[in-house]
């Protein structure tokens, strides 16, 4: 089954042009490790360690990596669910990383998040209609009757009958709940939506429905996505560009096609290799199988963080930290493939 390409043809303007909608500079998110009866800080878990990236209006940036590499932490830092330890987050020209809660409130309508687990992301005591109209009423963007109308419209947009607004979250399936989560993120008409593994809790056929919904919504409302995921299939399907993360840093960013055709970082290649290949004729090429575990983010390796598991590591990798270089296809590796 081939991928539908109409959407890509329709939108040739999805090039990296103009000013980025979101720019992250040197983001660090450290969590203290406390020990002993006096809670002395004995170290830090470096969940995100000096990450920089740009997201351009209208594009979908996929963010992939193993569990615990800091993908979700990055997403949460962007919507300011956690204050970053260090670094700048510039959204729409404003540095929101040092905004107070009050200042942040006006930005929140433009910056939303869709959560991974559709079962814990909806308040079990609220009807769907109340869940969705609450943001509008709270920000005084609509009167109660306007809000009701808008909620009904929004339910139809995400593919649910409008009569569902009188139901409680437990009456829905996972896929339906995720649609409600998407509706909640959309209702304030945001510019950027952080999708924090929105489909990894759903089964595959529902994943496809939700991904298609996200794509359609992007076209309709001119949305920008940061799509966090670990299922490469889903990320490939939806992303215009993909960023690969390892232990709190980005190791490679490129356009989706380019990334899959021509991965430069050995870790990216290993990730691609780890994904099962449906077509048997395409199997059996050179593979990298990673051994060992991800090193602890509390005590990451010196030099290139990947050198402990890299099959082509050399002595330079153990000492020098590689920087992300390259314009259209950036990679942080001393000895990139090809």
């Amino acid at each position: 089954m081939s991928l539908p390409t109409e959407i890509k043809i329709e939108k040739p303007s999805k090039e990296r042009t103009g000013t980025p909608l979101l720019e992250i500079n040197n983001l660090k998110q450290y969590y203290p490790i406390k020990k002993g009866i006096f809670s002395k800080t004995v170290g830090h878990v470096k969940a995100v360690d000096g990450l920089s990236l740009q997201i351009y209006p209208g594009e979908t940036l996929g963010l992939v990596g193993e569990s615990g590499c800091g993908k979700s932490t990055t997403g949460r830092a962007i919507v300011q669910l956690e204050k970053p330890s260090e670094g700048e987050i510039i959204f729409d020209g404003k540095n929101i990383s040092n905004f107070t809660n009050r200042e942040m409130r006006s930005i929140r309508t433009e910056l939303q998040i869709i959560f991974q687990d559709p079962y814990s992301s909806l308040n079990p005591r609220k009807r769907i209609g109340d869940l969705l109209s609450e943001p509008l009423l709270f920000h005084k963007l609509a009167t109660p009757s306007e809000a009701k109308k808008k909620v009904e419209d929004m339910l139809e947009i995400v593919g649910l009958p409008k009569s569902y607004r009188n139901r409680y979250p437990h009456e829905f399936s996972g896929g339906q709940r995720q649609r409600i989560g998407i509706a909640r993120a959309l209702i304030l008409n945001p510019k950027l939506i952080v999708c924090d593994e929105p489909v990894s809790a759903l089964d595959v056929s529902i994943q496809a429905q939700v991904l298609n919904l996200l794509k359609d919504l992007q076209n309709e409302f001119n949305l920008t996505y940061l799509f966090i995921g670990h299922g490469l299939g889903a990320v490939k399907y939806i992303s215009d560009r993909i960023a690969v993360m390892y232990l709190g840093n980005i190791v490679e960013i490129a356009k989706t096609e380019e990334m899959f055709k021509n991965p430069k970082h050995p870790y990216t290649l290993a990730l691609l290799n780890a994904y099962p290949v449906p077509n048997p004729h395409l199997r059996g090429r050179q593979r990298i199988v990673l051994e060992g575990d991800v090193p602890s983010p509390a005590n990451p390796p010196k030099g290139c963080k990947f050198h402990t598991r890299c099959p082509i590591a050399q002595s330079k990798c153990r000492e020098e930290v590689p920087v992300l270089t390259g314009v259209h296809h950036s990679v942080a590796c001393h000895f990139p493939i090809n």
Partner: protein, 310 residues
């Protein structure tokens, strides 16, 4: 070297305007939340029985002067008389009508139970919610104060406070209310701590809601069940606590009757063995009140939980 071709299978296009399922569309009825909760509550038989009994008790308390056959304070001619047509439940050691005293006592016992618990549930919920949600120094401060309160010998402090303030009904309610909050505060803090990590609370933050809004609309409604259950048990223990205070002479002062002091007045072997009309009725009233309130709490907890309803 090229990476293997990846395909995302099952990419069946789904029209965004086509609803997933229309099957149960008729179920979305317009009903107010209170009505739904009431309907669910009335399906819980024990809760309804509890509600009926408590309603009767409350009516009895309100209309005590009308219902009571005699003045509860009036000393009659017969001491410790057996139940008769004149005194349906007999008379006590000084010749007062037990039935009338029982009816008037419901005023005292119910107001101690409900009053003290409402005070401490409010204090405990507010402090626990602040501690759990704000964390850091606020949590530290509030929890240490809670620890201090919990490490007091409860009864001694109550005795001292009541004797300083004077043993009146109002003071007893106040003292029990002010000293009863630490368990609720801990309970609420625990619930809030776990609930604030839920994604729907994070979504509330991302939607820009203020902390009071998140606490009141998204966290506390979900922490309601344990609070309700604890409160119903609290009413029971406040009624019993008032009885203990009465026994020690620091409760509601004689000649005013409460179920507790009626029970404690009957604490002698002869009374227990030979004059059951002195202790069975007040004991029964306490048990009935406590059980009814517990059943109501049970029913209410299920009624406000949308998941329990089919």
């Amino acid at each position: 070297m090229a990476a293997p071709e990846l395909e995302f299978e099952n990419n069946t296009p789904v029209s965004i305007t086509q609803p997933l399922s229309n099957s149960q569309e008729g179920l979305g009825k317009e009903e107010s939340y209170l009505k739904v909760v009431a309907n669910r509550f009335f399906k819980h038989k024990l809760a309804v029985i509890g509600l009926v009994i408590i309603t009767l008790f409350v009516l009895m308390a309100i209309f005590a002067p009308v219902i009571a056959p005699q003045d509860p304070l009036e000393v009659g001619y017969e001491f410790e008389a057996k139940p008769s047509s004149e005194h349906l439940l007999g008379t006590d050691q000084v010749g007062r009508d037990v039935l009338s005293r029982l009816i008037y006592a419901s005023r005292i016992s119910l107001s101690v139970g409900l009053g003290a618990v409402s005070i401490y549930v409010v204090i405990g919920t507010i402090l626990g919610a602040i501690a759990g949600y704000m964390g850091k120094w606020a949590d530290m401060l509030i929890m240490r104060i809670t620890d201090v309160f919990m490490s007091f010998p409860f009864l001694m402090v109550i005795l001292v406070l009541v004797s300083v303030m004077g043993p009146s009904l109002f003071n007893i309610i106040l003292v029990l209310g002010i000293l009863g909050w630490p368990p609720i505060a801990r309970l609420v803090r625990g619930s809030v701590l776990s609930l604030k990590e839920m994604d729907y609370v994070k979504a509330g933050v991302a939607l820009g809601y203020t902390a009071p809004k998140i606490l009141l609309h998204h966290i506390l409604p979900n922490a309601l069940a344990p609070i309700l259950v604890n409160a119903t048990f609290g009413i029971a223990s406040a009624i019993i606590m008032e009885a203990s205070l009465s026994f020690l002479g620091m409760g509601v002062q004689p000649p005013t009757a409460s179920w507790g002091n009626m029970l404690t007045e009957a604490q002698s072997l002869t009374v227990l063995a030979e004059q059951p009309w002195l202790w069975i009725p007040p004991g029964l009233m306490i048990i009935l009140a406590v059980i009814s309130i517990n059943f109501m709490g049970d029913g209410l907890r299920d009624a406000v939980d949308p998941k329990s309803f089919k």
